[in-house]
Amino acid sequence: MSTLLTQTEASILTWHNVAAPNDPARRLAAELAFTIAAFEKLRGTLVFEDEPASFEAALQATKETAP
């Protein structure tokens, strides 16, 4: 069992009192390594915005204006 999976199972149990319900749950939890890698890849690529970063405002700003 990987260190990440061991830590993840312990963390979920501690913080949420949820136990791994089955083997696919453990396999998918181990795949969180890919999530960590994906977030690492993004570091430095997006800068902090001072303006409000509202998603609804972005929908309005980029919307279709003429059918």
Partner: protein, 473 residues
Amino acid sequence: MSGLADLSMIEAADAVRAGNATSVELLEAVWARMEAVNPVLNATIWTDKEDALKSARAADAAVRNKAPLGVLHGVPMMHKDMYYQAGKLSTCGSALRRNWRPTITATVIERLAAAGAYTFGGLNMAEFAQNPTGHNKTFGDCHNPWNPPYITGGSSSGSGASVAARFNYMALGSDTGGSIRLPASANGVSGIKPTQTRVSRYGVMPLSFTHDNVGPLCRSARDCARVMTVIAGHDPRDPTSAREPVPDYEAALTGDIRGLRIGVPTNVFFDGADAQVIAAIDQVLEVLKARGAIVTRLTLPMMDAVAAYGGIVSRVEAATIHAEWMRTDSQAYGVHISGRMYPGYAIPAPYYVEALSRRGPVLKAFAADVFAKVDVLITPSIPTCLPTLAETDIDHGPPGTETKFMAVSANTRPFNYLGLPAISIPCGFDPNFCPIGLQIAGRPFAEARIMQVADAYQRDTDFHSRRPPVLKD
């Protein structure tokens, strides 16, 4: 009678309005069809003919009395079993809600009823709308009308199968990662995921607060347009719903796409695509070019961010919603449901907040780049030939089945994080005679535009009007 079941939703509504058919006759026709084919498909969870007959008779009386008629007057329909109707069963596809009856009614159900439609049952679905295949541990898997061992797509499995098998004129689905577009693709019907915030979610079972969408699955883009005109628009009971005006979507279906700029992604959306799917999309482009559209190949920006951020938001939100049941009754879920929710509890809050806070900037950057060059994007809805239920059965399959399972929704998920509208319509068949779906996506609130493109394509092709082999009459 079976002729009436074969009508499109708009044809059925027009027939009642013109006095060429009664609502009772429509109901009897789809009911007979359902009894004939549903034992193979398993597309329903519950039905209520007695209540539906009351509604049908009332609708027919309104016609006789020359009362004002809505645009869906007298049309019977069933929806994914997660649209609440006060006092009626709403299982959400799960043993945990097998006997649950809500006390409220969804706004979209009320809007459809105001337009004259009524329901006669609840449709099979992935448990709590959480899979892209149509597996269901509690109520049984839903089967594809074109080839029953193959997946229907999910999570709106019964919505796609019932419309394709012509015992339902229209079905609402919900789409958090592709759950309208995937069953539309797999069953050879038309289904639209609107812009995030376009349609009220009040009274609809939540899966992901930020990614859930309500939309129709129909026989054609024109049917979708009529439904969208009825259900879209702000709802005070859903403060997240947009105040954007609702156009007459049907009026936008002119068939004129001259000068329309179509973008075909060179990255992500054709990764691992099967040759038959690529060929079908190439044929689509020829049809649209013949109507005057201009095709451009382009690399989409921000896709790493879309994948990383979009990949965690719904997992965290679903895990949060289901936390109490996951603590106390996790074995009541299908293995693939609880198994996929479980890692959601380990994703750190800063990751989740980062994903949410970047959603606006990522959309802005994506739109500024892409929609300066093209008006719509075209991709396969599912990049591969359709897999079987057995090949994607995590509950009983070997390790690694998860990969095949998740690949089904690879092309639909990005538009949920971006919040963009996207429609799936049929555009061919794979070697197993399962439908291939074409996905058309556009800017925020460009529902009219993408349905216009879909309708233009359907004017020149007949994939949307072909009958699946399960219909033997």
